[in-house]
C-alpha cells in the first residue's frame, strides 16, 4: 500500500503545490486524483516516484519510506504513463516498450518477447512492432505508453493525465481498455485527471483536491456523487449529479413484465389476450425486440415492421445500471424500457414509474447505509437493512453487490450506494451474497431489485438476485423474500 503522510511541497518562490496531504492508496485498485489546475494533483503523483521531492512529510510504500531505496530502483518498480505518451521517436514501438526491461538488465531477446506480449495485452496489432511512433495515431501511441509502463510488470502504475490529449471517442476506448487490463492484472494504479467524469468512471477511490494542494474529499465515486463533502466538491462534480449517480445502482432487481411482449408471428388469440395493454413490444420469432406498437394496430400474421415505434436502447439487467435502464425508458416513445439478455433477447419491459420507484428505494438504502457506516465503519460489510429501521428508510429493501474478479483472487464487494465497500483478498467466500459456488465464479453479483410490490417500498420485502455470469450460464437465484443479505455470505 502507498501511504502519503501529511506531505507538503513548497517551492522556493513560496508557492505551495501540495499542503499537508495524507492519503491511503489501496492496493490493486485505481485511485484517481482529480481537481482543477493548480491543485497539486500532478505534483502529488510525481512525489510518489520521486520526480518531485516533498518539502515535508513522507511517503511509504508497503510500510517503508520511499527514500530508503535508490531513486532509479524505485522508479523502475513503478510504471509511469504521461500525457502524449512521451514515446522515444527514434526507437521502434517494440523497443520503446522494452525500455524498462532493458534498464533492468534483461536480455534483448527476453525484453522484446515481453514487449510483444504486452502489445497484445493493450490491444496493439503485432504488425506495428517495427513501426516508429510518428506512424501511429494518438490513441495507439497512448496504448504504447501504457504497454511500456507495464513492461517490467511493476506492482504500481502512475498515470498522469494519460488520456487528456486524445479525442473523446478514443478516450472512451482507452478508458474501457484500462478497466479491462486492470481486471486482468490488478495493479495499484494512481491516476491523475482533471476530468471528473473520467475520475468517476475509472476510480475505485477518488481524491478530490482543491486549489492550493489540499484534500477536499477522498471517497468512492458513488459516495462522492451522493454526499459531496462541501460546496467545492459539489461544484466540481457539476450538473446531473443525481442522474450520474444512478450509474452506481444496479438494474438487476427491476421487476420486469413479460406480458406486453409478443412475437411477430403471434396468433390472433394471443394478440387478443393482450389487447388491454397500452403498448406491446414486438419481437422477431427468436425473441429479439423489433419495436413497439399499439395492440389494435397489430394484425396476426401481417405485422408491418416499418410501422413499429423505435424501442430505444435496451438494457441488460445485472450488467447495466439504473441509469442505462432509465435512459432506455426516456428514449422510448412509450416510456417503457426494454430489458434483454446478453444474447439480445427481450426478457421483459419496465416502465418509467417502476424505475423511478427503484431509484427512490436505492436512495433510501444508500442513505441508511451511510448512516450505519458512520456508526460502524467496518469495511467489507454490505449495508444491511432488513431489520434495522434507520431514519429515512422507508422499507427494508437493500442491495448488495459483490463482484468476485479473477477467479476469486481479488474479490471485491461493493455495497450499493458506495457507503460501504468490501474487499476480500481470498477466495470465493468473500463476495457477499453470491449465488454461485466457490472460487470458480468469475463474477458474482447480488443486486437487489425493486420491491416486489410496486407502488411502495414500505413492505420490507426484498429481493436478492444472484447471477453467475460464468460462460453465459445465468444461474438466476430469483427473488427471495425476506432474505437477509448477510445470510448469503
Amino acid at each position: 500500500m502507498i501511504r502519503i503522510e501529511s506531505v507538503t511541497k513548497r517551492y522556493p518562490d513560496g508557492t505551495v503545490a501540495v499542503d499537508r496531504l495524507s492519503l491511503e492508496i489501496p492496493d490493486r485498485a485505481i485511485t484517481v486524483l482529480v481537481g482543477p489546475s493548480g491543485c497539486g494533483k500532478t505534483t502529488t503523483l510525481r512525489m510518489i516516484n520521486r520526480m518531485v521531492e516533498p518539502t515535508e512529510g513522507s511517503i511509504l510504500l508497503d510500510g517503508t519510506d520511499i527514500r530508503q531505496q535508490p531513486v532509479n530502483t524505485l522508479r523502475r518498480s513503478m510504471g509511469y504513463v504521461i500525457q502524449n505518451a512521451g514515446l522515444f521517436q527514434h526507437r521502434t514501438i517494440l523497443d520503446n516498450i522494452a525500455t524498462v526491461p532493458r534498464l533492468l538488465g534483461w536480455s534483448k531477446q527476453k525484453s522484446r518477447a515481453k514487449a510483444a506480449e504486452l502489445m497484445e495485452r493493450v490491444g496493439l496489432d503485432a504488425a506495428l512492432a517495427k513501426r516508429y511512433p510518428y506512424q501511429l495515431s494518438g490513441g495507439q501511441q497512448q496504448r504504447v505508453g501504457v504497454a511500456r509502463a507495464l513492461a517490467a510488470d511493476p506492482p504500481v502504475l502512475l498515470m498522469d493525465e494519460p488520456f487528456s490529449a486524445v479525442d473523446p471517442v478514443v478516450r472512451k476506448g482507452l478508458q474501457d481498455e484500462l478497466l479491462r487490463i486492470q481486471d486482468e492484472l490488478g495493479k495499484t494504479i494512481v491516476f491523475v485527471t482533471h476530468d471528473i467524469d473520467e475520475a468517476i468512471k475509472l476510480g475505485t477511490m477518488v481524491a478530490v483536491l482543491r486549489t492550493g494542494g489540499r484534500l477536499a474529499q477522498f471517497a468512492p465515486p458513488a459516495e462522492l456523487l451522493s454526499a459531496p463533502a462541501d460546496s467545492f466538491v459539489e461544484d466540481f462534480l457539476g450538473a446531473d449529479r443525481g442522474i450520474r449517480r444512478l450509474s452506481f445502482f444496479p438494474s438487476a432487481g427491476l421487476e420486469l413484465q413479460t406480458a406486453p411482449i409478443v412475437a411477430i408471428d403471434a396468433d390472433a388469440g394471443l394478440l387478443a389476450s393482450r389487447a388491454d395493454a397500452p403498448y406491446l413490444l414486438v419481437t422477431d420469432p427468436d425473441g429479439r425486440p423489433l419495436g413497439w406498437s399499439e395492440p389494435d394496430r397489430l394484425t396476426a400474421g401481417a405485422v408491418d415492421r416499418a410501422q413499429l415505434l423505435d424501442h430505444g436502447r435496451p438494457f441488460v439487467p445485472g450488467k447495466d445500471s439504473l441509469r442505462t435502464a432509465l435512459d432506455g425508458a426516456v428514449l422510448s416513445p412509450t416510456g417503457w424500457a426494454v430489458a434483454m439478455d446478453d444474447e439480445g433477447h427481450a426478457v421483459g419491459v419496465v416502465s418509467q414509474q417502476t424505475i423511478a420507484e427503484a431509484i427512490r428505494a436505492a436512495h433510501s438504502r444508500a442513505a441508511r447505509g451511510r448512516a450505519e457506516d458512520a456508526g460502524d465503519a467496518e469495511r467489507g460489510q454490505a449495508a444491511d437493512g432488513t431489520d434495522a429501521e434507520p431514519a429515512g428508510a422507508e422499507g427494508g429493501t437493500e442491495a448488495a453487490q459483490g463482484r468476485a474478479e479473477d477467479g476469486g483472487d481479488a474479490a471485491q464487494g461493493r455495497a450499493d450506494g458506495g457507503a460501504a465497500q468490501g474487499r476480500a483478498e481470498d477466495g470465493g467466500g468473500a463476495a457477499q451474497g453470491r449465488a454461485e459456488d466457490g472460487a470458480e465464479a468469475e463474477r458474482g453479483q447480488v443486486a437487489d431489485g425493486a420491491d416486489a410490490e410496486p407502488g411502495g417500498a414500505e413492505g420490507g420485502t426484498e429481493a436478492a438476485q444472484g447471477r453467475g455470469a460464468d460462460g453465459g450460464d445465468a444461474a438466476q437465484g430469483g427473488s427471495v423474500d425476506g432474505v437477509d443479505l448477510k445470510a448469503a455470505q
Binding site: 520526480m51 504521461i82 502524449n84 514515446l87 516508429y132 510518428y134
Partner: protein, 222 residues
C-alpha cells in the same frame, strides 16, 4: 577567356598532378588541417553543448559566444596570430578552432535543449540514469541539428583554411594566393574549383552521415 577555360587548362596540365605543389599533396594537406581543426573544435564544443543543453543553463552566455564568434573576422584573426606566433601550424589552428567552436557549441546546446521534454520526463520516470537520458533519449533526437552545426563548422574551416595560405599554410589555398601574386589566373581558378569541390564533398559527407546515424523515426517525424 572564361572561368571554365581556365579551369580546364589548370587540370589538364600534368605538372599540377605531382610534387609537393601537386593537387594530391595540397588536397591531402587541406583535408588534414580541416579534420584536425574540426576534431579539436568538436572536442570542445560537443561536450559543453551537450551538458549545457541537457541542464538548460547558460543560454545567454552561449548566445553571446555565438555573436562574438560570428563577429570576429576569421581572416583578421589568422593574420594576427601569424604576426604574434610566427610560422607554423599553431597560428592557423588557433583561429580555425576558435571560429569552429561557436557553431558546434551553440547548435548542440539548442538541439539538446529543444528536444521534446515529455519523452525525457518519461525516461526519468522509468528510472533511467541521467547519462542514459542524455545519450539514449536526447542525443538521438538532437542528432540532425547537432550534425548541421558540425557541418557549418566544417564548411567554415574548409573556407578559412583556404585563406590561411596567405600566412604560408599549405593546402588548396596556395594555388589561389600564389596565382594571384603571379597573376596566373589559371592557377587561381583551378584552386577555387578544387576548394569549392572540397566544400561540396563536405556537404555530401555530412548528408551521408546523417542518413546513416539518424534514426528513421526521427528523420521522418521532424
Amino acid at each position: 577567356m572564361n572561368v571554365l577555360n581556365f579551369a580546364h587548362a589548370f587540370f589538364s596540365d600534368s605538372a599540377h598532378w605531382h610534387g609537393y605543389d601537386g593537387i594530391p599533396t595540397r588536397l591531402a594537406e587541406h583535408v588534414r588541417y580541416s579534420l584536425e581543426a574540426l576534431l579539436f573544435a568538436a572536442l570542445i564544443g560537443l561536450p559543453v553543448g551537450l551538458v549545457t543543453g541537457h541542464y538548460g543553463r547558460g543560454g545567454n552566455a552561449l548566445a553571446l559566444i555565438a555573436t562574438a564568434g560570428r563577429a570576429l573576422p576569421s581572416f583578421g584573426l589568422l593574420v594576427l596570430m601569424f604576426i604574434w606566433i610566427g610560422f607554423g601550424l599553431l597560428p592557423v589552428m588557433i583561429p580555425l578552432v576558435v571560429l569552429a567552436v561557436p557553431p558546434i557549441l551553440v547548435t548542440t546546446y539548442e538541439a539538446v535543449r529543444s528536444v521534446d521534454p515529455s519523452p525525457v520526463d518519461a525516461a526519468r520516470g522509468m528510472g533511467m540514469p541521467e547519462a542514459r537520458v542524455l545519450f539514449q533519449v536526447e542525443l538521438p533526437v538532437a542528432l540532425p541539428l547537432i550534425l548541421s552545426g558540425l557541418r557549418t563548422a566544417a564548411i567554415q574551416i574548409v573556407s578559412t583554411a583556404t585563406i590561411a595560405a596567405y600566412v604560408s599554410l599549405g593546402g588548396l589555398g596556395r594555388y589561389i594566393i600564389d596565382g594571384l601574386y603571379q597573376r596566373n589566373y589559371e592557377k587561381v581558378v583551378g584552386g577555387a574549383t578544387l576548394v569549392a569541390g572540397l566544400a561540396l564533398t563536405t556537404l555530401v559527407v555530412f548528408w551521408a552521415a546523417s542518413r546513416i546515424t539518424v534514426s528513421p523515426g526521427v528523420r521522418r517525424s521532424s
